[in-house]
Symmetry: C2
């Protein structure tokens, strides 16, 4: 009993081998489904594994072979459903390839992100899917290549030397602007918030380009607070300017939800008094009434694409860097009408 208890040691491949009357090497071959072992032997070993309740020790294997079967995912934030959906896509694909994903949030803080990258290297991850924290220096990319660690950037990019998967923000913006323009809107505001990063810049640029190409004034950029509750309270910012917009495009789903609530709080009717277009269309946004016309960027699909890209990158590190942008779709619902 006491000797049983002290012998808390896990079942090892050697135990299996002994139990099956073969060598450690043969047992290892069975484990890796090598065609070299005879079928009778194979069966005996597999039975031994079952009998002893053997569990493969990836950590030990990894020491020899250069593959940990772990990949990392670093996102700014998890409470934002947009990133949660992204992660869901990542986990789906990575899990299907038999790997496992280590999750971490940077809080959009560069030092935290640095710490996480180091921690992941310590764990010997095979690669990382990184949504770079705002204000990440582009030199990070050089460090990463120096470490030769496969990395795919998602949603935001800091360098052209690494793979990137994101949404086609420019087209999304154009879809939104075109639609509003087609309804007759001319004074269109872009309601932004959060830190500046590539995706922010692309949306702002996309907005500007789309507006200019229609001959409209692209300068109505209004900056809102970070938190959902605060955004709703700050709705008045829309009306504080000399030129009052007749339509608003929202930076992301948080701004969309916030303004949708805030406008109703002001007693305004969305779609009649003011047109509103959302961005990023996460699942919960379906529940907003009036239904939000919105540009959908497909976070789950982006996560899946990023995961696939990373897997390919790990398989062949020599591949030239690729950039994938997911198409956006304008879902026309009820939050837009003609200007008045």
């Amino acid at each position: 009993m006491s000797s049983e208890e002290r012998k808390k040691t896990r079942v090892t491949l050697l135990d299996v081998a002994r139990h099956a009357n073969v060598s450690r090497a043969t047992a290892s071959l069975v484990l890796r489904k090598s065609p070299l072992v005879g079928s009778e032997t194979r069966m005996r070993v597999e039975e031994a594994m079952r009998d002893l309740g053997y569990v493969y020790n990836i950590g030990a294997a990894r020491l020899r072979v250069e593959r940990s079967q772990i990949i990392g995912a670093i996102v700014p934030n998890l409470t934002n459903p947009f990133f949660a959906e992204l992660l869901s896509g990542i986990e789906e694909i990575i899990g299907a390839t038999g790997k496992v994903v280590i999750l971490a949030k940077s809080g959009d803080r560069v030092e935290q992100q640095e710490m996480l990258l180091r921690r992941m290297r310590e764990h010997g991850v095979d690669g990382v899917i990184l949504c770079p924290a705002a204000h990440t220096e582009s030199t990070l990319s050089e460090q990463i290549t120096a470490w030769d660690m496969p990395v795919v950037q998602v949603l935001r990019h800091i360098s052209f030397d690494m793979d990137y998967v994101g949404a086609d923000y420019a087209t999304g913006m154009r879809q939104a602007v075109d639609y509003l323009a087609s309804l007759g809107h001319e004074r269109i505001a872009f309601a932004v918030h959060g830190p500046v990063h590539s995706a922010y810049q692309e949306r702002v640029d996309g907005f500007r380009d789309a507006m200019l190409s229609r001959g409209l004034d692209p300068s109505i950029l209004i900056r809102f607070p970070t938190q959902l509750g605060e955004i709703a309270k700050a709705t008045h910012l829309l009306f504080d300017r000399a030129i009052r917009p007749t339509a608003v495009i929202c930076f992301n789903h948080l701004v969309a939800l916030g303004l949708s609530a805030g406008l109703q709080d002001c007693g305004l009717t969305i779609g009649r008094d003011l047109s509103l277009i959302g961005f990023d269309d996460v699942a919960d946004a379906e529940a907003i009434r009036p239904r939000l016309t919105s540009v959908s960027t497909g976070p789950v699909a982006i996560g899946e694409m990023a995961a696939r890209l990373l897997v390919e990158r790990i398989a062949d590190p020599a591949l030239p860097p690729r950039r994938l942008v997911n198409d956006t779709t304008l879902h026309i619902r009820q939050s837009c009408g003609r200007p008045n």
Copy 2:
């Protein structure tokens, strides 16, 4: 150059030791901040680490010492913001202790969950935070103790032999029922959905008890579809019965969002024509108008509690199993009024 290239081997502790003119053992002691090494030596070694860009290899260390610094988290689903917030709490605490979390979703499928548990064992996780898939057999708990793997159950429980952290669903239900009753409601429905599990049962039981103790009919249980969009479309189920409820308590935030949307689609005014109480109050629910009166269960806090419990459990596996329930709070907002 070519010899440099082929020497792609990572910097090891032995390299550091040689560079600092000490033995591997000493370098290892420095790494672990042992007080045994002289300060001059320590500095020399630390400098060598910096010079060579040494990265600790946790995997190798783990082979000797029984600690992988990895914990697992298994949830049914990630696109549901409730679980995302839970995860955020978990990551926060685990990350702060220097560990790392492996994330996986079971899709509420028992076989998938089994596969994930095995995979995590293969990775040698120090423990797992598990939200058991619906229909998980309680025998799983025996297996887990046989593996002697520290596990904390969250939100749902299948066994009293393992730690558990959840919300105080019974009290939450009582708060909701009491509040509605105090407004004069007598025909209160409970709108449920999803698979049956302990948390489901606790809510249903809580509802029944609370209703009975007020002398009210506890039998108005209405079952809704799984998807948000479907729920809204199924709103009519509320009115299909002989006795028409004047108030509805929602099983979770999905049902709350769905019905909130569905009722507005029916042209009803929430709070006047029908009172609605939400459950689980996730961040995005703030954007619903009229503002949803809701029982908040605090997923982030639950995640944090679970993580702390797991850390303690890992430190002392002999601890008796504990059960923690997080208090619920009724947030009174605008979705309830007197019956008419």
